[in-house]
């Protein structure tokens, strides 16, 4: 099998932290944009959470708890939905996203508590025995599963392992677990008397199951979401690999065939360029290494070929950060290659660059007509001088080996700057 590009798994863009410093109101009147990436029902809680700077999980809990207050949460949810817009419609561009903060979460909790008390006064109420225990249990679950600042770092894993590795703080687990079970216990105590006939054991099992569901449920759904996302990523990269395999077997071969045939120079040049571009796409490095010497040298080939239609063979041994000396070497090699392509008449230019422990070496060679270094035409001297000047400024040396009919080699040596 050909060497396929490593699978790249793209994640949905997380709320960008850079956009959070200065929360601006969007120009549009729509205050809430439903979340596309973070949605359970309609994306209202996700969007509201991003807007308020509260973890969407907390917003969901708030709606759920308020729903118990005579269905107020359901009405609020529908109202919020009616006053929000879908992402990527008008006004959704450049929306501010606030990073969840504990203070915002606390504020939301207070608002919910206040609303609950208000609704209780108004009589929109299922009764203390039901609402308070459930509110308590929901708050406990939220304490455990609110992602807060570690949202970006959060990885799926065993919840018990997460507890020990500190991905979910021990205190959070304890406080949350305590709230969950005291809420359930309270509910059990409140209703236990009425349901004694149904069997204490059964109720006990049910309460424990609900408690475990509240503690581990969010982890399970989050895990499922991440697995689905990874699967999508894998399918994408498999589809890419399949396409790369097909292109590799068909188009690259055709381009190689054209280059072996007696085609015109224009067609040859075109086939060569297309081959280079296709190869670059097929074997694309997921993160292009910037500021490295190797890709900078390899980029010389396409520039020379584009301008002079002469193929350039490039071999680089070793790699180093692209510092000033490296840049001078790349520029000098490129000038020498341009020079060879323009004047030598050779069918091929070879560039060789090696990174040695204490110096950089570069060789640019052609098998063209060559020249007598003592009788250099003035236009070539100018270029030779500019290469010399460039390299000497960095403490290096240039040797040009050439004689008529023997081709030319420009040899460059540059001391490496000490890191």
């Amino acid at each position: 099998m050909p060497p396929w590009p490593r699978g790249t798994i793209t994640r949905p863009t997380e709320a960008s932290p850079t956009a959070t410093q200065v929360p601006q109101r969007p120009a549009s009147s729509a205050a809430i944009v439903r979340s596309r990436t973070n949605r359970v029902l309609l994306g209202v809680a996700g969007g509201l959470g991003e807007r308020l700077g509260v973890d969407p999980a907390l917003v969901r809990v708030a709606f759920a708890v308020l729903a118990l207050a005579g269905g107020a949460g359901v009405i609020l949810y529908l109202l919020a939905w009616a006053f929000s817009v879908e992402p990527d419609t008008e006004g959704a561009v450049g929306r501010p996203v606030r990073r969840p903060s504990p203070r915002q979460a606390l504020a939301l909790g207070m608002v919910v508590l206040g609303t609950l008390l208000l609704l209780r006064e108004l009589g929109l109420w299922f009764g203390d025995q039901i609402v308070w225990p459930i509110a308590l249990a929901a708050a406990g679950s939220a304490v455990i599963w609110a992602r807060g600042d570690d949202r970006a770092r959060w990885l799926p894993g065993n919840p018990i392992e997460a507890l020990f590795t500190g991905r979910v703080g021990l205190i959070r687990i304890l406080v949350g677990g305590l709230l969950v079970f005291s809420g359930l216990g309270l509910g059990f105590a409140n209703t236990g008397a009425n349901l004694a006939a149904a069997g204490d054991a059964l109720l006990g099992v049910a309460v424990t199951l609900i408690g475990l569901g509240l503690i581990f449920g969010p982890w399970a759904t989050r895990l499922a979401n991440q697995l689905a996302e990874e699967r999508r990523g894998r399918i994408r990269s498999e589809a890419r690999a399949e396409m790369a395999a097909h292109l590799h077997d068909s188009v690259l071969h055709t381009l190689a065939l054209i280059q072996r045939a007696d085609a015109s120079p224009e067609v040859l040049g075109l086939a060569r360029r297309q081959e280079r571009e296709l190869r670059a796409w097929l074997y694309r490095v997921p993160v292009p290494p910037e500021g490295r010497l190797r890709p900078a040298v390899e980029a010389i080939a396409s520039r020379v070929e584009q301008r002079h239609d002469v193929p350039v063979d490039i071999v680089v041994v070793g790699d180093a950060p692209l510092d000033d000396a490296g840049r001078a070497l790349v520029d000098a090699c490129q000038e020498a290659a341009f020079n060879a392509a323009r004047h030598s008449g050779a069918p091929l230019v070879s560039v060789y660059v090696e990174v040695e422990p204490d110096e950089l070496t570069g060789f640019v060679r052609d098998e063209g007509k060559g020249f007598d270094p003592d009788q250099v035409p003035t236009d070539r001297r100018g270029i030779a001088d500019s290469i010399r000047g460039r390299i000497r400024r960095h403490g290096g040396s240039v040797t040009i080996v050439s004689s008529p009919g023997e081709g030319t080699e420009v040899q460059l040596r540059l001391p490496r700057s000490q890191q």
Binding site: H248, H253, D313
Partner: protein, 210 residues
């Protein structure tokens, strides 16, 4: 006449090769996939096999490994559209005596086949660069100093090949005989095939994205 067997799954490319090489070499057979290639090579016992690296049914490596279990004296020259280090190092370590890309000119290909038939190694500039890169760097943790590093002379020869010189030019520049240059290159090939230097494999897979 040197007897050559062609292994390639691209019919156009095969017919092109046949037309180019037919006058100079005896084409004893051809195959487009691994099993047929192994059978055909064992039956016809050619001097040189021209082997495509990417083949349905396991790739060129599978052919090399199967044939070399029974017939050590058949020589292989790998031919590929890919320049990926993993492929190049892979087929060489499986036993090929040289590696050229499919854009090689017909006369150069003919010369490479003759060289491989004569028992020498064929190093393109790029392969020479790969070897220098793979044997580059510090030598800590080297198991067998004889196999796991290049001598100064071998390094110098490889550098010249990587710079684009032919064996003859290398010999002239280094004041050696062509035979000595060939000996150095063959010795590098042997090291490349036998060295257990663990960086070699890691290096090749790190460089798989060319």
């Amino acid at each position: 006449m040197i007897r050559v067997f062609l292994v390639d799954d691209h019919h156009f490319f095969l017919s092109g090769l046949r037309a180019e090489l037919g006058a100079e070499f005896e084409i004893v057979g051809e195959a487009g996939e691994v099993d047929a290639a192994v059978d055909g090579i064992r039956r016809t016992r050619p001097d040189v096999v021209l082997l495509d690296v990417h083949l349905p049914g396991g790739g060129g490596r599978a052919v090399l490994e199967a044939v070399r279990q029974t017939d050590q004296e058949i020589r292989f020259l790998a031919l590929s559209v890919s320049d990926a280090a993993e492929d190049v190092i892979g087929v060489i370590r499986a036993g090929a005596r040289g590696y050229v890309t499919k854009t090689i000119s017909p006369p150069d290909l003919a010369a490479a086949i003759r060289r491989v038939q004569g028992g020498d190694a064929v190093f393109s500039p790029r392969l020479a660069g790969f070897v220098l890169d793979a044997f580059h760097g510090d030598l800590t943790g080297v198991a067998d100093p004889e196999l796991d590093q290049l001598t100064a002379r071998e390094r110098e020869v490889l550098r010249h090949i990587a710079r684009g010189f032919t064996y003859k030019e290398v010999a002239r520049r280094l004041h050696l005989s062509v035979k000595t240059v060939e000996t150095h290159v063959s010795s590098v090939l042997r090291k490349l095939q036998l060295s257990s230097r663990h960086e070699l494999t890691r290096w090749a897979s790190d460089r798989r994205l060319v």
